[in-house]
Amino acid sequence: MRSADKDRLHDGGARLILAALALLAIPALAGEPPPPSHQKYPAPIQLYVMNCWGCHKPGGEGIPGTVPRLRDTVGDFLHVPGGREYLIEVPGVAGSALSNAEVAEVLNWMLMTFSKNQIPPGFQPYTEAEVAKYRPRELNNVQTVRAELVSKLAAQGIKLPPQ
């Protein structure tokens, strides 16, 4: 919890003058300006923006050492046994506020958008039923499971960036 507000009143002529000049500089104090026009996102993008974007970043680039990268990476997991389920079981997905259908939708969108080149041939999109099946197996040891998958991928000659 952050501490309470402690607005302090400053006295002194110099500050008053600065404040007054600052007021003069504001053009109108003109009521509520409408928000700038923004695009509406199609459903899967909106799911990503509202649930994943804050940490995985706009382009799925992640934060090295803190948040896993999705771009040019996430599709690699589909090449090894356990990898497909892993993408449902990771805490950020399994513990998200999304429905199973929404998880399937946003996972498919992420794979196609960020990692199309890594998706193996014959890839079948995730379904709601598949998410429902694997989601309860949320991982408590995500780092260990990831490390195992990464070493299986390395054995196939697929090298993932750290984290």
Binding site: R2, D5, L29
Partner: protein, 174 residues
């Protein structure tokens, strides 16, 4: 004559401070700033505001982004960067924007629309302590970290010291 001038100067110096001149000047300047604001036609000026760009929103009773009831702060918890030397979209000097942000939606009062808003903390300096704002619409408990705003969202940043929070519109909710 010299003595008279000296006595007069000394008495003025004893009765007034150097600041009093600045105060007087400030009052004059303040009056000049406030007077033109008094009778204002908000309907016409609203039309002019249509062209305003993101990050240049200005005040008025219903749209002052330095107050907690500004619509974009509906899920805000922290100090408003607009009171801390930054703006609603930019961190104050000496702080860095966290690479992570938590995302919520807020309804615009003038339109029947909801907008997606990213609350991004500015990190790297002790807390600002001005304009504390604790709304929390749609916030989830701490064990749902992704949707909790009590957490300091500086993680991923080199600096974990929290200073203030910005509120950037990401888009319109479909």
């Amino acid at each position: 004559m010299d003595g008279l001038v000296e006595r007069l100067t000394r008495s003025v110096a004893q009765r007034t401070s150097r600041r009093s001149f600045l105060v007087r000047l400030g009052q004059i300047a303040m009056g000049g700033a406030v007077l033109p604001l008094l009778p204002i036609d908000r309907v016409t000026s609203k039309a002019g505001a249509q062209t305003m760009q993101e990050g240049h929103s200005s005040g008025g009773a219903s749209g002052d982004d330095t107050t907690c009831d500004y619509w974009r702060y509906c899920a805000f918890d922290g100090f408003l960067c607009t009171c801390c030397g930054g703006s609603i979209t930019e961190c104050p000097a000496g702080t860095v924007a966290s690479p992570t942000a938590w995302v919520g939606t807020c309804k615009h009062p003038g339109e029947a629309k909801e907008y997606i808003v990213a609350y991004r903390d500015c990190c790297g300096k002790a807390q600002c302590n001005r304009c504390m704002c604790d709304n929390n619409q749609g916030e989830m408990p701490i064990y749902r970290t992704q949707l909790n705003n009590d957490t300091v969202w500086c993680f991923g940043s080199k600096e974990m010291a929290y200073h203030c929070t910005t509120a950037v519109i990401l888009g319109e909710k479909a």
